[in-house]
Symmetry: C2
Subunit: 331 residues, 2 copies
């Protein structure tokens, strides 16, 4: 950060995996600082990883407006963000990671109304998908209009599918990994444009701890036949001990590919591939949120109010470097 | 294209490989049309690939201002663009592919002065490197500030190195391929951050046709020892016939990788990879130029005058789809 700039003051709303990841990301961005961490839990019970970071109850936010440049919302897309983002956008610029793809238009409309009225800038659906994967879906279409886009996820731990298997009677614990089918990835990368079924693109692997007395085969059948979650996939279920689950499956790796395959002429195929290999899904998502908080602050200062998405943000706005530095060093 | 929009009228300046690629790209973007092709050659000798495309002498441009929304400059970075881009930016919005990295700040300044004065929008250095690779270098730094960026080029035909070997006495023809060293790519992908020398990152492979009576070993020695071009690389020289050169080495494939490897915490490594596999380098570059012409037209209409680069363009501006369509379909 240049000496003549003030650090951007970030308020962190929520302190689960994402909130802790935001702390870690701010520690790696010298032009940012934590203004405060806001929680619905008892603030005294919360242990920030940043020395000296102040923890406040959620309702203190109302009186802290002048101490905060941008809020980063670290709650869930199901229960927290549909309510929090519009409510807080009325008075704060913010970034969220709303990831229910089908409900994005509705979430956008609610947040936009609040942000336009409050003259704030609120960027929704940042992260990697939605987020940087979405950018690569747009860029793929734009650079190769005569083509097809393929998104593959994994290998990675899926929170939603892990939750689903833990709800099965007879299951004491478990995790689920989503795995792209290597033959499908290879075919797409080769530049042909295959039509792929759900089953041909991904398979699912479950590691399950049985409850005492549960029937393994019955549990397996319930999992592999579960509508929407598993029935359209080839699913493998491994039964393991609680010790092995804790020892081998505590991390949250993820990643995937966005591949655009297209022709620029009848003769010439072109393939664009964007790939993430993440050892920690929440920490990477948090790092994306923090970068977009920088852009949001600049857009708010430039009078660009309302709801925004990653599609509205020029790459240079995300960097702490000046436009001249970027041109000289990275173009 | 929606019915109520007028097609963007593109003037193509120059008709080599890039100019023909721009024609092919416009044929794949239904919201664009060719206003005219401008050449320093005899217009009657030039054969457009687009039925009905008008070909004009370069000096007709002066009187065609009202028929053109954006010029796409298809000349070379050494002799054409340093003169043409500032001169034409005084009266036209335009896109160029200026790719002499070290001279970008100077080119930017000259074009910016002309475009600010003329109230035009002129985007320089579009293509893939500089261009979409540059975007991925910025995004890599921004998303993983504690990390290292690696750019690999190839496997691909290098025009500059092919020209260099063709200037060697005793060489009747030849091409040069730049090849990333697989061990280096694998090491970078694994998430360690190796320090790599020039020789460790890329090797060079030449296919050379000897002139009658030339000494093969002398030619080989001259090529592999050539300062800057070859002396810092492991270079292999194959001698082939003129027939084999024409038959096997007429295409212009290229591509490469931008890999960012970094940590979001002490425990967790993350790797981002952007990869291009191009069967035609000039056609892909042209496709990028055409997409950025759409953004330039919109920025000019919005009063965003002056010189721009890919760092100044939000992804959504590049797409013919509306912001609402992009959010609903691709976020």
């Amino acid at each position: 950060m240049s000496d003549n700039k003030q650090a951007i003051r970030i308020g962190i709303v929520g302190h689960g995996n994402l909130g802790r990841g935001v702390e870690a990301a701010i520690a790696r961005n010298s032009d940012m600082q934590i203004a405060g961490i806001y929680t619905r839990r008892d603030p005294a019970q919360l242990k920030p990883i940043t020395a000296g970071a102040a923890v406040h109850p959620m309702d203190a936010l109302a009186s802290h407006k002048n101490q905060i440049d941008v809020l980063i919302l670290c709650g869930g897309s199901k229960d927290d963000l549909p309510r929090q983002s519009p409510e807080l956008a009325a008075r704060f610029s913010l970034v969220d990671s709303f990831d229910t793809h089908a409900r994005i238009p509705e979430h956008f409309a609610a947040v936009d109304a609040a942000a336009q009225a409050g003259k704030t800038t609120a960027l929704i659906s940042a992260g990697w998908d939605p987020g940087v994967f979405s950018i690569n879906r747009v860029m793929g279409e734009v650079l190769l209009p005569d083509g097809a886009t393929y998104t593959f996820w994994g290998k990675g731990l899926s929170q939603g599918h892990s939750d689903a298997i833990r709800r099965v009677p007879g299951v004491a614990g478990g995790v689920q990994y989503t795995i792209p089918v290597p033959e499908a990835v290879d075919k797409v990368r080769s530049g042909v444009r295959p039509a792929l079924t759900t089953r041909e693109k991904h398979c699912r692997e479950c590691f399950v701890v049985l409850a005492a007395g549960a029937d393994a085969e019955a549990v397996r059948q319930t999992i592999v036949g579960m509508p929407h979650y598993f029935d359209e996939y080839d699913t493998t279920v491994h039964f393991i001990s609680a010790e092995e689950l804790a020892r081998e499956h505590g991390a949250m790796p993820h990643g995937g590919f966005v591949i655009r395959s297209g022709n620029t002429s009848q003769a010439n195929k072109q393939v664009i591939e964007y790939r993430l290999q993440l050892e920690s899904n929440p920490e990477f998502t948090s790092s994306v949120l923090v970068a977009y908080a920088r852009a949001v602050h600049r857009m708010q200062q430039a009078g660009q109010f309302g709801c925004k998405t990653v599609f509205d943000v020029a790459p240079g706005l995300l960097s702490p470097k000046s436009a001249a530095e970027l041109r000289a060093e990275l173009l």
